[in-house]
Symmetry: C2
Subunit: 347 residues, 2 copies
């Protein structure tokens, strides 16, 4: 059934008693070959255990059917959710996405991008690693390969971005906290080398300003975007002379860390200290207490990014509009009852 050396279309041709061109045509589902011939060929393909060599084909055809998906942190469930959204649309377009993880490491990212390009992908969807240098994508751009960024953008780049409305989300969340009666607010986690950070922090600041919170009553603590980072942020904040009573966290992971640290201190999240997260990962609703968070529709963003990519490939362009996804605040228990009256607003 399986000859040692791998079979090629010539082997199939010999087996089926036709020419290699005919086999090639069958492989591409051309309508030019007689159905009976096609059948004979297909049988031969099965018999010799043929596997198509896309590398050889691409040598002539140029366009492959794989697109690369480069993700900065696979362990963040947020990205997994986004990936699932993308896969849904790619699948129905006959495109196969290959995922590669950079683990937030620009060097690794470089390697991964190189490998993907060498492999001849048709396009790249990237959530850039922190600390990516501005020139990191120059090569890919000049090669004319379509790229779209998701979630994160690079400072000066002209590459299209698919991301949630970070500014608005942060503003909403902050206003909600202020509406609950909090007067000393903190922004926890993230670091200023991320554009997203500035967007979210900007929304936070804007809401404070608009609603009459003096900037000396706000506290900004940078930190890792992980549970650990959240724990550290809370420690820092509580060590202050007049600590905040509520915090907007850079993302849900940070928020989980903050809640953990509160508990460890004997404080109850929600009652003693309000916390709200960002991203609304699935865990958020299952936590104790359930986490109030800014929902960004990760799967939807993934789908959108995939669509944009398909369109770019199809129209062989390297330009596309940015897409800023709608966000909405999902109010749960982690920001507690009103400080004055009762009743929480629904999302």
């Amino acid at each position: 059934m399986a000859s040692r050396a791998k079979a090629t279309i010539l082997d199939i041709a010999r087996e089926a008693g036709v020419s290699k061109s005919t086999v090639s045509l069958v492989l591409q589902g051309s309508g030019l070959i007689r159905p009976e011939t096609a059948l004979k060929v297909r049988k031969a393909i099965e018999d010799v255990g043929y596997v198509y060599n896309r590398g050889a084909a691409n040598l002539r055809k140029a366009h492959s059917n794989v697109i690369g998906m480069v993700i900065n942190d696979l362990t963040n469930p947020f990205f997994a959710e986004m990936a699932v959204g993308m896969e849904r649309v790619f699948q129905s377009a006959g495109v196969v996405p290959f995922i590669a993880n950079t683990a937030e490491n620009p060097v690794r990212q470089e390697e991964v991008l190189k490998s993907l390009m060498e492999q001849g992908v048709a396009g790249l969807i990237v959530s850039p690693a922190r600390g990516t240098t501005p020139g990191a994508f120059r090569r890919i751009e000049t090669a004319g390969l379509p790229i779209v960024f998701t979630m994160r953008r690079l400072p000066e780049s002209r590459i299209p971005v698919i991301a949630p409305d970070n500014h608005r989300g942060a503003r909403l969340a902050t206003a909600h906290l202020i509406g609950k009666g909090h007067r000393r607010l903190a922004f926890f986690g993230g670091s200023s080398d991320l554009v997203v950070y500035h967007e979210r922090l900007g929304g936070f600041r804007e809401a404070c300003e608009a609603l009459g919170i003096a900037s000396r009553d706000t506290l900004v603590v940078e930190g890792e975007t992980s549970r650990r980072g959240g724990i550290a942020c809370l420690e820092t904040a509580l060590a202050m002379a007049e600590p905040p009573t509520a915090a907007l966290c850079f993302n849900d992971a940070v928020a989980f860390g903050v809640m953990l640290a509160l508990r460890k201190r004997g404080l109850e999240p929600g009652a003693d200290f309000a916390v709200v997260g960002f991203d609304d990962v699935v865990e958020a609703q299952h936590y104790m207490p359930a986490l109030t968070s800014v929902a960004v529709d990760s799967a939807g963003l993934g789908e959108r990014a995939a669509h944009v990519m398909l369109k770019m490939i199809q129209s062989r362009t390297t330009r596309a509009e940015d897409h800023i996804g709608a966000v909405n605040l999902v109010v749960r228990d982690s920001c507690g009852p009103d400080r004055r009256a009762g009743m929480g607003d629904a999302a």
Copy 2:
């Protein structure tokens, strides 16, 4: 800087005033070329914006440096952790892993495997989707491509498997519950079309038998391996005449669901009903209450799988030993205090 059509080694050769062979040699880092020539070539490579065409190269070379990693559920943090372990060892071996998600869908799995093979991967690490037919990997095997299974095995297959000691883990956990004084035990989640399920259930049964729990005092409820499945399992169990007082769950996701459902019923996990999970994902220790779970060292298993794969590729064989990873029970709060005395054992 970038000519429109993509540059080939011939363009480089022309630019540098050498032959294509020389360029090829430089590309491979051969020591045969004079350093100054190499430098000149490298400059030309930069100038023309060259990107290596691995497809063309593989046409002659046979072995590529990418291996495919096929995962049944990317949203399960467990697999992400495993993936990270693999990446660590592959990176230092100069191998790039491409990850593809099958979303537990055998048809999708088929497509993904096909695509990966066509792409000319050097090997495949697979956690098979539920419902994978026994013959699904025949093609790949006869093609002589190395495969290793992780976590799951197929009923009759000779493909090497890297997995935790499910039987022992379940036995340990069950014995722990019995040691705490529980007499009516349940096994929650999973379904019998998974080999893992039988292994874990087997361990559960063996412990019960060995420690004098009659099988009429045990309850087995199949269900989805997710939070939702866990919720359903608990509902079913509590509807019984003499409900169990403790449960071993198929995995942590199920356990989280069970704890959630307990809370919803006004029962306190740990105090009113003991639950232990399986896998020990990072969330386990952060839950309220913290989840007792069987730690399987996912990253370690990933590393192991990667090592086995590298060895198979290197020795061009398609056979390898199975590896059963050590497990250990991490006791936390979700299985409560002893029903008789106090004091929990440390992990």
